[in-house]
Symmetry: C2
Subunit: 155 residues, 2 copies
């Protein structure tokens, strides 16, 4: 496997990240991959970037080409005796690079980051319309113990 | 239904909240309800209390008696065009008060708070060992669209 670099995303990475979020079976109808990028992404990026409990990550090849992204949120809860958790969202592997272990590499780094921050659990939810993602997470050792509920609000 | 007060928890509420977290089918083996409370809870409370994206809430009767608690985390993600979300954790209704609509009242306030903070989605995960919770969330309009995965890490 080639060497990869896992690092915090910078504002210059944002168009590439948004393009990756949109280049996805479910993301294609949810995201807008325009040039320049939609204002909503820039606003969200600033909030994420300024928050010490957020870590928006990219995985690149040594030449700088981005091959993956995910967002980690470090959560403090009272439950489980105040246990710290890392929650993962927005996982993408660049199209054309699937099957090269990039997803596993992304998670290897994310889990190491969570451990370094004192988290006892890494958690995520995945849409039931993504059976291949379910198999991937189980292979990494995740257990599907919970049901994820969403309430969409009319604005 | 009697009047209730929904408010941010203060440090004085913490022993009551911890007692409620422990007084639960799953919580009883996960939490420690000691007097004084275990240090981990005080540490977690300080982190939560200082974080503008966290809202640890209690529901009390007008005489101050605590009847419910939940924790809201406001999340900023890039996905869904930078959509803001509210995530709920640590929901408890005081034993002996179940069936009085207190859970519904807790969520009515939590959803209003999420809306006031510009969230488009309220989300939570619930353990598959809580079938009665599943029915409750579906009644409130939540959709069980996701699977919640957890990876427990050896420390």
């Amino acid at each position: 496997m080639p060497d990869f670099i896992f690092r915090k995303a910078s504002i210059e990475d944002l168009p590439h990240i948004v393009a990756m979020l949109a280049d996805d079976a479910l993301g294609t109808s949810r995201e807008i991959a325009s040039d320049p990028i939609a204002e909503e992404y820039a606003v969200a990026f600033e909030m994420i970037d300024a928050d010490p409990n957020q870590f928006l990550a990219v995985l690149t090849e040594v030449d700088g080409r981005m091959v993956g992204t995910l967002q980690i949120t470090f959560l403090h809860h009272l439950t489980h005796r105040g246990m710290k958790r890392a929650q993962i969202e927005g996982v993408r592997v660049a199209s054309g690079t699937q099957g090269q272990g990039i997803g596993t590499e992304l998670f290897r780094h994310a889990i190491a980051e969570a451990r370094a921050r004192g988290c006892s659990v890494v958690q995520l939810t995945t849409d039931r319309q993504r059976p291949e993602a379910h198999a991937f997470y189980e292979k990494l050792g995740f257990k599907p113990t919970h049901t994820g509920f969403k309430l969409r609000m009319n604005s």
